[in-house]
């Protein structure tokens, strides 16, 4: 049974529900996720060579608002390098780690909101590895240039093969990131969490299910499909993964007025597929970044689960 936490966001904000009449975006996996054998087959997509040298390049620490961060670049797979920020917890090096997956902003990890969330977490006692998703931020290529919703969907999100490749690369990039912080940064196993926002939340269902090193997973403003998605291959569909994060704890944070991940057709069905232990925070707002109050609440939840 889902446990609902407190919900508060905006003064005088009330009625939940979707805004505009969106066609149902269900697919067969949302109604009937794949079986164990098929899921095991999916895992082949996400394997990577852990012997590839990191060939890491670490920048000099930069301190902003009392939070120190270092720029990191590491080899993920043979021909792919990942760019990231490592935010250092203000409480000391023994702090737990959280891997942060950004949403669909062209600036990737460097979008102001994501920088501020990362800094917030650092002040809350977390080391943060905030990486750029492939094609975003410092990893942008000619595939996406305008970063409009139309472009992202036409060139990536609604391209089944490309999307699966992108999802698989994300899982590998995160996996290699975990390898790096374990081997090179002394991160404590079992003290690593995952946080995804929006598109990153959608990816977090998959990453969190495939990479079992995460002690807890937080998904903020995610869902099955966003309002412009048309369909994915089953190996890239979060519906086939969200239930497999269990028995590790999962936190789902969503806005009742979100017009991108619409409650009735995109969010509620995904919540229904999540398995215990699951906590849910419903915010009476749209697809916006959580307030500081909500961020604190999420950080507290992570702290409880990861310690």
């Amino acid at each position: 049974m889902l446990r609902y936490l407190c919900a508060s966001a905006i003064l005088l904000a009330f009625t939940p529900g979707s805004m505009v009449g969106q066609a149902s975006q269900g697919d067969e996996w949302l109604r009937n996720p794949v079986d164990d054998a098929t899921f095991s087959g999916f895992l082949q997509f996400f394997r990577y060579d852990s012997q590839v040298p990191f060939d890491a390049e670490v920048g000099a620490p930069v301190t902003v608002d009392a939070v120190s961060r270092e720029h990191l670049e590491y080899q993920s797979t043979a021909d792919v390098r990942v760019t990231a920020w490592m935010y250092r917890a203000t409480t000391g090096p023994e702090a737990p780690w959280v891997i942060f997956l950004h949403g669909g902003s062209g600036s990737g990890k460097d979008a102001p909101s994501y920088r501020l969330v990362s800094s917030f977490l650092a002040r809350a006692g977390w080391n943060v590895l905030a990486l750029d998703l492939q094609y975003f931020g410092e990893r942008r290529t000619g595939l996406l240039t305008e970063f409009t919703e139309t472009e992202k969907h036409e060139h990536l999100y609604n391209q089944e093969a490309a999307y699966l490749a992108w999802v698989a690369q994300t899982v590998k990039d995160v996996g290699r990131g975990i390898d790096y912080i374990l081997e090179e940064r002394g991160a404590a196993p079992h003290r690593i969490a995952l946080w995804g926002h929006s598109r990153g939340a959608q990816l977090a269902y998959i990453v969190g299910a495939v990479d079992t090193r995460f002690r807890a997973v937080a998904s903020v403003n995610g869902g099955h499909f966003d309002a412009m998605e048309t369909g994915h291959l089953p190996a890239a569909c979060g519906a086939n993964y969200i239930g497999r994060i269990s028995p590790r704890p999962l936190l789902l944070v969503n806005g009742t007025l979100d017009a991108d991940y619409i409650k009735a057709v995109s969010v509620d069905p995904m919540h229904a597929l999540a398995r215990e232990p699951v906590d849910v925070i419903w915010l009476e707002t749209g697809h916006t970044m959580p307030t500081e109050e909500t961020l604190s609440e999420i950080a507290r939840w992570l702290g409880e689960k990861v310690g």
């Binding site: 005088l12 805004m19 697809h287 916006t288």
Partner: protein, 687 residues
């Protein structure tokens, strides 16, 4: 694509695929095209339509046929010609090099041996053409192309065709000259009969210019230059340019004789004299100087000794100054060359700024077509002062200088290609901004309808009728240039806006419940219980945020304020019309998705004062359509009783600007990221 471009493409047909217009001017316009059958580039030269009408197709064809018969290594061949679509055109090979004018502008005077070699080659070409009965009539550096180490003469026949039209009185002198006055022989200038010796005079002018860096005659007006051609002897070349041997100077002087009979009789003679002048760099023999010239020079020197002394001194000073200027220009061009090759236009712009120069300067003509676009600016009403600031590279925008362009209307002005911020100065306090992107070779015309200074309309920007990305065509309207600020809203509060029931509905839906006006308004209070936005205290906005957008107001309060001002909330169609015009670009400023956080407040650090993101203005000059605060609009979210908010806010990701992310909120919602702006009816004169 320009109308002329399309007409030319139609005229030449499918056999040629037009690629672009290249630098032309004077009588003609040039287009680069690919000849499909031979996979080669050709140049299509067009007589401007206004000239074509004066030249009969038959005459043109006749002249082109004659020109096409000239097969010589130093004559650019005519590959074909035609008269279609009201255009007269001919084709010639594409020469990848530059014109002699380009070389001259780029490097200044040429070394004597090279200059003389070019002159000999051109004279040799003329000897061939004259032998066929063809006189060029328009020899000038622009018509001499440099292909490798050799000169090639272009444009045979054009001047003749135009001259025939002139003789038939179908051409007037207005806007039309047959030949180029600065290079025309005296007899050609006065309309006497012309023979091959006129071309030799023009060659000598060219020779004088490429050896000294300047033509022999200059003056404050075209008339003064023409008069000098007719009456003034040129300063001896070797006296103003010490590198030029007197032998070469003497040959040029003779070819510049006012009387045709004093010049060389034929092009062959001139070519021979030029060749000998560098082989034997000594004083020209008396035989090379016409007898009449010797006598005239003696009398002139005797009579004008004092005046000449003054002139020589003055000319010397000017020559030194000009020499210095040319040296500076040459150094600048050399410095810019690698940047031009790399198409690093930001670097080009920076170097020009540092040098206190600009791409409009004549000496930079050799690179202008590769790095510059042309901007024309108009406004309704006209007479607005316009300044321009280069945007790119956007990271250093704040350090870029701002230049005055003048007052509207402004004709084409060359600017290094890139993005620019234009500012129309309306008064000391008000301005209208536009962001414009110029591509190299582009001609962009910016036309702005300026806000009225009428009190009731101040702060509102005219948005002409046109399509919106949501809905159909929208009628013209006035849009608040900025989001409503705390200071503006404070006036409404102080004026008793919350007490005047005319602005408020009898019932309001708040939190899903329908409340009476009295009950609802009891909730629309600030922190101290006074009427006002939820984040205010004692009827006043937060300290230091007077110029920030008002937030924490419900949809009802936004509507009431709009009514108080005589306006209303924009509709969704109006809002996107104001933000994106016809929607040809996804963001108010264009297509640049990589600089969103610089152009708009999606900074997650609270609101910023209204209008502080100049690079994010919409195509009509409206601020903060993307970011800062989401804005209440009039439209209801379908079927749910909610009202739409648009534009994204400081607390959102940038994609929340897009219409795919419209969200509806309960009309009683008041958030720290939600504000509004107002629209008013357009005045009749707005298109």
């Amino acid at each position: 694509m320009s109308d002329l471009f399309q007409r030319v493409q139609t005229a030449v047909g499918d056999a040629f695929c037009l690629e672009r217009e290249i630098q032309g001017g004077g009588m003609s316009r040039l287009f680069l095209a690919m000849e499909a059958s031979l996979n080669r580039q050709v140049v299509i030269k067009i007589l401007p339509p206004e000239h074509s009408s004066a030249v009969s197709a038959a005459r043109f064809k006749q002249e082109m046929e004659l020109a096409a018969s000239l097969q010589h290594p130093h004559i650019l061949p005519v590959l074909g010609a035609g008269a279609q679509e009201g255009l007269l055109y001919y084709l010639m090979p594409y020469v990848a090099g530059e014109s002699l004018r380009g070389r001259l502008s780029r490097e200044g005077p040429l070394p004597v041996p090279e200059a003389v070699r070019f002159l000999v080659e051109i004279t040799d070409a003329l000897a061939f053409a004259h032998g066929k009965g063809v006189i060029h009539r328009d020899i000038k550096p622009e018509n001499i192309l440099l292909e490798g180490k050799h000169a090639v003469l272009a444009d045979f026949g054009i001047a003749r065709a135009l001259l025939e039209a002139q003789n038939e009185e179908r051409l007037t002198v207005s806007g039309m000259s047959v030949g180029t006055p600065g290079y025309m022989a005296p007899e050609q200038l006065v309309g006497d009969s012309v023979d091959a010796r006129a071309d030799l005079y023009s060659v000598a002018i060219v020779g004088y210019e490429i050896l000294s860096g300047a033509p022999p005659f200059s003056g404050p007006s075209a008339q003064a230059i023409l008069a000098a051609h007719l009456t003034t002897p040129p300063l001896p070349l070797h006296e103003i340019c010490s590198e030029v041997p007197e032998s070469v100077s003497a040959v040029i002087a003779r070819a510049l004789s006012k009387e045709p009979s004093d010049r060389f009789a034929t092009a062959e003679e001139l070519a021979e004299a030029l060749s000998r002048s560098v082989v034997t760099p000594s004083e020209a023999t008396p035989a090379q100087l016409a007898p009449g010239l010797q006598r005239r020079r003696f009398r002139q020197r005797l009579a004008l000794a004092l005046a000449l002394l003054i002139i020589v001194i003055g000319a010397g000073v000017l020559a030194v100054r000009r020499g210095r200027s040319l040296a500076v220009d040459r150094a600048l061009l050399e410095r810019l060359a690698p940047m031009v090759e790399e198409e690093n236009l930001d670097a080009v712009a920076q170097v020009l700024t540092e040098a206190g120069s600009d791409i409009d300067k004549g000496a930079l003509a050799p690179i202008r077509s590769r790095v510059a676009g042309f901007l024309s600016v108009s406004s309704t009403p006209s007479g607005a002062e316009v300044t321009v600031t280069r945007v790119s590279p956007i990271e250093t925008f704040g350090d870029h200088p701002t230049d005055s362009l003048g007052t509207t209307p402004l004709g084409p002005r060359a600017l290094v290609a890139g993005e620019y911020l234009l500012c129309f100065h309306l008064s000391e306090a008000d301005s209208l901004l536009r962001v414009v992107t110029l591509g190299a070779g582009d001609s962009v015309e910016v036309a702005s309808v300026l806000p009225s200074i009428d009190d009731t309309r101040a702060g509102y920007v005219p948005v002409p009728a046109g399509p919106s990305v949501v809905g159909s065509v929208v009628d013209a309207f006035l849009m608040g240039q900025t989001e409503v600020s705390n200071a503006e809203y404070a006036l409404f509060v102080a004026a008793g806006g919350y007490r005047n029931m005319a602005f408020w509905p009898a019932a309001m839906t708040i939190g899903g419940q329908t409340l009476s006006r009295e009950m609802a308004m009891a909730l629309l209070v600030d922190r101290t219980g006074l009427p006002g936005p939820r984040s205010w205290s004692s009827g006043m906005p937060p300290e230091g945020k007077q110029d920030h957008p008002v937030t924490d107001v419900s949809w009802y309060e936004a509507v009431a304020y709009a009514r108080w001002t005589g306006g209303e909330l924009p509709t969704l169609s109006q809002w996107y019309r104001a933000a994106l015009a016809d929607g040809s670009a996804p963001y108010p400023w264009g297509r640049d998705g990589g600089s969103v956080e610089v152009r708009a407040n999606f900074g997650f650090a609270g609101t910023t004062p209204v209008g502080t993101h100049p690079l994010g203005v919409s195509p009509f000059g409206i601020h903060d359509m993307a970011g800062n605060v989401r804005e209440w609009i009039a439209d209801e979210a379908p079927g749910l009783g909610r009202r739409l908010v648009v534009g994204g806010s400081w607390r959102d990701a940038a994609y929340m600007f897009e219409r795919s992310h419209l969200e509806g909120f309960d009309p009683g919602t008041a958030g720290v990221f939600m504000g509004f702006r107002v629209v008013k009816p357009a005045s009749p004169q707005i298109p």
